[in-house]
Amino acid sequence: MNERQQESLEVLTEIRSIMHKSSRFLSLSGWSGIWAGITALVASGLAYSWLKDQHAFRTDAGADIMPDGPLSQAAAMWSERLLILAVLTFVLALLGALFFTWRKNQKAGAATFTGAARKLAVSMMIPMGAAACFILFFILNHHFAYIVPASLVFYGLTLINSSKYTFTDIRYLGLSEVIIGCIALFIPDMGLYLWALGFGIMHIVYGTIMWFKYDRKVNRL
């Protein structure tokens, strides 16, 4: 390869790299995923301990509360608590994710709120907003069995949609959330475990892989 070719190749490589960097938000930190996973595990542990010894969510037949059926007073109280827990978990996970990403950018001296970051945020907010509508409807109408599958599937589809604007690896996390969500639809009794698997374990696994793949290099440089 002569000098002229070498030079052309370098220029083309640089063009590719700038196209990639400028259109994707590549500063999501692996710690963001790990943090989200930990908050999800703690929350599901709490929910498990609340639900373990009380039968508020069981009817006489031992089945979960029927859709549209009236809630017992105890069940109404617990579902309110669970809802507050869910909202708190979401907010904590999100704030943590933003913090770790911001911190990674501070270290690297990069800007956090770029055009790609805006695109990523919008691409996440649309399906997540639809998810919030669905889940609210399920809560209001006591279709509790659909909350876990819906949250997993919508979240998974959100990640697949967002993979255009950040690391493509996030697609695989999205796919596994969708699969776990579909399984949860068929085994509602395992809902809480599958929720902990999808939002807890999978996030921690993904965050760890991302940290080793991308962040470690940045820290070393």
Binding site: M1, N2, R4, Q5, S8, L9, V11, L12, E14, I15, R16, I18, M19, K21, S22, S23, A110, A111, T114, G115, A116
Partner: protein, 99 residues
Amino acid sequence: MRKELDQLNKIFDSRIRIGIMSALIVNEEVNFNELKALLDATDGNLASHLKTLEEHEFIRVEKGFIGRKTNTIYSITAEGEKAFRSHINALEKIIKNLQ
């Protein structure tokens, strides 16, 4: 070989200009500060290269404000896109032909 070299656009000789065009071809619009961070250029240097591209009508400039701060947004023109694509093609030819 001569022919390919002739197709290389002199305007894209600079790394910064190549970088600006690369960012603008995949994004509808990019503002000054994002370009600066992306290309690791100084204000003056980046501004002069942007000026050159604007003079050749390869990019469009829109001046706006975010609060009190000026926010200058750049986007690629049809002509700029055409010129940049044929520049990339010429680079590819150079690599392929001599292998």
